[in-house]
């Protein structure tokens, strides 16, 4: 049945977002529909997971010696380090560099114009669904020189250690991720500063998604729909 599915299966990131309940109801439905042609992947979500562990004396309880052996093997694996995929790394580095140079350029530009007061001359964005923003009322952004300087206002219950920003092309369905940058810090006035190269955004509608990270956990915080005019 359905031996030749039309679509690629969801990525593991999408699978994680689904499991963590981070998708909207519509996106969840789309996720399921894309996954159903791949029964072996569906089973990774439906198969019963062990809930009870073995107790000492059970056949499948690892002895101290066995654990010591496994632990040594795991430490060797951990010491080998994480093999980082090449292209995602390049993309992450490029995005980070863009952010750093954007911030440097921006600071230099601002300091030049306002030598005594350091201000962020970016475009303030309010989250979708807020009275001052929203998907039906996408904020039109305009570049400053070669950069779009975006200042999304965070509306989260509790601040996170860091934030990750991901930019999606909202013109296609499902939305396509264009780039992502992580490790951003929240400012004292609850904003982030995001510099996007002008050449990166052609006219259209984009969605800026912000995720808060704390340790290994990541939680979706806000969406900001923006329009790049011709």
């Amino acid at each position: 049945m359905n031996t030749n599915p039309k679509h690629e299966p969801p990525t593991s990131d999408e699978m994680l977002a689904y499991v963590r309940g981070e998708l909207s109801a519509d996106d969840e439905a789309r996720f399921r529909d894309r996954l159903i042609p791949y029964p072996e992947l569906v089973r990774t979500l439906t198969a019963s997971f062990p809930t009870e562990g073995a107790e000492p004396g059970d056949d499948d309880y690892l002895s101290e010696e066995e654990f010591a052996r496994h632990w040594a093997a795991m430490q060797r694996r951990m010491a080998r380090g994480v093999v980082v995929p090449f292209w995602p790394s390049v993309a992450a580095i490029a995005a980070t560099l863009a952010l750093v140079f954007g911030a440097l350029y921006w600071r230099a530009h601002t300091e030049q114009r306002l030598p005594r007061v350091l201000t962020v001359d970016g475009q303030t964005l309010f989250p979708d669904g807020n009275s001052r923003g929203g998907a039906n009322d996408a904020a039109t952004v305009t570049p400053h020189g070669d950069w779009y300087s975006l200042v999304p206002v965070l509306m989260d219950e509790r601040p996170f250690d860091n934030y990750r920003v991901e930019l999606f092309d909202a013109r296609v369905n499902p939305q396509r991720s264009l780039w992502s940058v992580s490790g951003l810090r929240r400012s004292e006035n609850a904003t982030l500063i995001v510099a996007v190269p002008r050449s990166f955004l052609t006219p259209g509608i984009y969605r800026l998604a912000i995720y808060g990270t704390k340790g290994a956990r990541e939680k979706h915080v806000n969406n900001y729909t923006v329009r790049v005019a011709r």
Partner: protein
């Protein structure tokens, strides 16, 4: 109890059960399953400081399922990259094997195509239930995945079969329930 103590305790209790889970649920080899289980535990160890109690185990479950998902997804992608062999090519025939019944094969292929097309035209909920059932899922699993009751699955399946029989004929799919 320190992080390392908690980790050791969980590992000793669950490692072999997780290996069995990977073998049984995803038909992985024992070696693959052991490798995957260790991979899941390493990821868990690196991030476990954030979780406690039941949340900790739920977190491990997410990691283990995700690790399996990644492995199976990449195995599938590798299979798709493998060159396909045309089974009707005489060069691939096993000597002494009976002549294939091409007419029957053709007929079956046409029926499957018609069934595929008819299923694609069903309402989404019915289509999902029928697709999953044809892929070997039980009512309980379909209900869990779609977030609906088993009765709803049965009802959607019934409606789908009715549509398909109207379109393709009475013998299109089996009558029997699970």
């Amino acid at each position: 109890m320190t992080k390392d103590d908690r980790f050791q305790s969980l590992y000793q209790k669950y490692y072999l059960r997780i290996v069995r889970y990977f073998v049984r649920s995803f038909h992985l080899s024992e070696d693959d399953a052991r490798d995957l289980a260790q991979d899941a535990f390493i990821r868990f160890y690196k991030a476990m400081g954030e979780y406690r109690g039941e949340a900790e185990w739920a977190f491990f479950e997410t990691i283990a399922r995700n690790v399996a998902y990644n492995r199976i997804r990449s195995q599938n992608a590798a299979k798709r990259r493998v060159k396909l062999v045309n089974i009707e090519d005489p060069a691939t025939r096993v000597p002494g094997a009976p002549e294939p019944d091409f007419a029957k094969q053709q007929e079956d292929a046409i029926r499957w195509r018609q069934l595929d097309d008819a299923i694609a035209e069903l309402p989404v909920g019915q289509r999902q239930c029928i697709q999953m059932q044809l892929n070997g899922f039980k009512y309980r699993e379909i209900a869990k995945f779609l977030g609906i009751s088993e009765d709803a699955v049965k009802s959607r399946r019934r409606d789908a079969l009715k549509h398909l029989r109207e379109k393709l004929g009475a013998d299109v799919l089996p009558e029997d329930d699970e």
